[in-house]
Amino acid sequence: MLVALLSATPAAGQVNLSGVWNNLNLMHEDKPDRFEGPELGDYAGLPVADALRLRADSWDASLITLPEYQCRVHPSDYVSSFGGLRIWEERDSASQQLIALHTHHFAWGTERTIWMDGRPHPPDYALHTAMGFSTGKWEGEILTVTTTHLKEGWVRRNGLARSDRATVTEHFIRHGNNLTLVIIVNDPVYYTEPVIRSREYEYEITGDIGPYPCEPVEEVIRPKGAIPHHLPGTNPFLEEYSKAHHLPQEGARGGAETMYPEYKKKMSEAAK
């Protein structure tokens, strides 16, 4: 009897993450980046590869006026930048074993499944999606999630893309009524080192998440097939960020070196 009771309880370390978690009150110094949006030409503090630098330099914000881009959803590794989420469990009714965790995000109302039943990831030729394919496991009281099969997304909304070959590792860490989410993006195409972010959420007893409909409209009349972009060397906005913040342009261009404290010294010397 005792054995049967014990086997029916959650595995050691499992933490209940269910509920509505919000982060709108927990944006601090990074609010301008996450909410209003990053500044053009700000690649600082990110390990951008050369190829990505050109791609971002070519990016024109008018791109998102194209109808087919207007309702493009935040990918699962970025969606936590913006608004709350609901988490709920899916359990086998007989065994009460955890099959999956599901999340619903405020931003674009996207829903995601984190499989907890040990199933493998799909083959290479399967569909990629904005949410990707996620599997999770408990490491102590931390839920660690691995996501593959992501569609191309972004790390910053100023043209800094994240490729569809990235793998993302997340850690969900609950401390009472707070939840810390650590996101580690490994993108061998566009980033020379992992991109690591963390997000804070607070539990909302009366929390609710509203709908997020999106309907594309024709905002600008353009020739069919026109894609707004800047030809190499013609983007006039790339130095606005560094000039506005009195930073050396070299630092604004990003790269792995700019992630580390030692770079402050180099920037100070460059500014002299």
Partner: protein, 326 residues
């Protein structure tokens, strides 16, 4: 002929020779023994079959089996075995998206494994069911597969049995409309996309892939402008569930199963690179200068190659020569 136009023509011939010969070499030199064939349901009645060479699209239903493209001949038994896991009905139709050997190499054995419902005016194409499945393609596919200059010659049994010369051909099979739409001057001059209207799946052929830059067979009538027009056409046909996701699925010529967002990303890449090279052509830059400027370098980690049948240099050259034509 001016020196410039001679150089362009010569370059086009070289590119074609490279594309065509590598397609043949890929088949002749490749060991297919260890190739595994996989089926993935796209949606509705339509599946994507992945092996070596171009992807095959498979539609199944009460009336039989229809496939789009045939990969390589040595894989035919494996392809048929995979199809038999989802249908025991006869193979009725083969549709070729274009003439390249990695998409038509299995035409002959797969045709022979199938059977057409003959009679009526179909008997002008295929006299009786024993001759095998019907092979449908744009007329330019027949012209290229039957060309006397092919070395080695491609047997008549591998040629299309039913061709069309206009914008499209339509048939109704297994309870759904199938729209075969010619996309002129794109990957080649004989490209078709195949739209399964009820299943909501498009088979794009090599107009769209996820693995490499667009292959432009210049001497077979291909062009970057046609590729982009084809991608825009596919995007026009697609309706997502939300944003850029779900809804219409696309089986690409090579690579993974896709939906709208993937086609949009590829179209964005092709358009931006076209615009960059066009700007360089307008400035009078030579091909060597354009190559040195590396107009593709932001996309090279995704689609580029320095060796193999379609290198980044070959792509840039094809774009440049196509846009330089008067």
């Amino acid at each position: 002929m001016t020196r410039r136009s001679f150089n362009l023509l010569f370059g086009a011939v070289v590119i074609l020779a490279c594309v065509a010969s590598t397609m043949v070499r890929a088949q002749q030199g490749q060991n297919f023994d260890n190739v595994q064939v996989h089926l993935l349901k796209a949606q509705g009645n339509v599946y994507m079959l992945v092996g070596a060479g171009g992807n095959i699209t498979v539609q199944v239903g009460d009336q039989g089996v229809l496939i789009v493209d045939t990969e390589y001949a040595p894989l035919s038994n494996k392809i048929l075995a995979a199809i038999r896991t989802i249908s025991d009905k006869p193979l009725r139709y083969i549709i070729n998206t274009h003439y390249h050997g990695d998409h038509t190499g299995g035409n002959e054995p797969l045709k022979k494994a199938g059977s057409t419902i003959a009679g009526g005016n179909v008997s002008f194409d295929i006299a009786d069911a024993a001759q095998g499945a019907q092979i449908i393609a744009h007329d330019n596919v027949l012209k290229r597969l039957s060309a006397r200059t092919n070395n080695p010659a491609i047997p008549a049994a591998a040629w299309p049995t039913s061709t069309f010369i206009g914008e499209d051909k339509k048939l109704f099979f297994n309870g759904e409309g199938i729209h075969i739409v010619h996309q002129p001057a794109a990957h080649t001059d004989g490209d078709s996309i195949v739209f399964f209207r009820r299943s909501d799946v498009i088979s794009s052929g090599d107009l769209f892939t996820t693995t490499n830059y667009p292959v432009i067979d210049l001497n077979a009538g291909g062009s970057i402008q046609g590729i982009i027009a084809g991608l825009n056409h596919i995007i026009d046909l697609m309706i997502p569930v939300y944003g850029q996701e779900g809804g219409t699925m696309v089986v690409p010529g090579h690579g993974r199963l896709c939906d709208l967002g993937d086609v949009i990303n590829y179209r964005e890449m092709a358009t931006i690179i076209r615009d960059r090279v066009q700007d360089m052509v307008k400035k009078g830059m030579s091909l060597d200068q354009v190559k040195a400027a590396r107009p593709t370098r932001d996309y090279d980690p995704l689609y580029g190659a320095t060796s193999g049948f379609w290198t980044t240099d070959m792509f840039v050259e094809a774009v440049y020569k196509g846009l330089s034509r008067k």
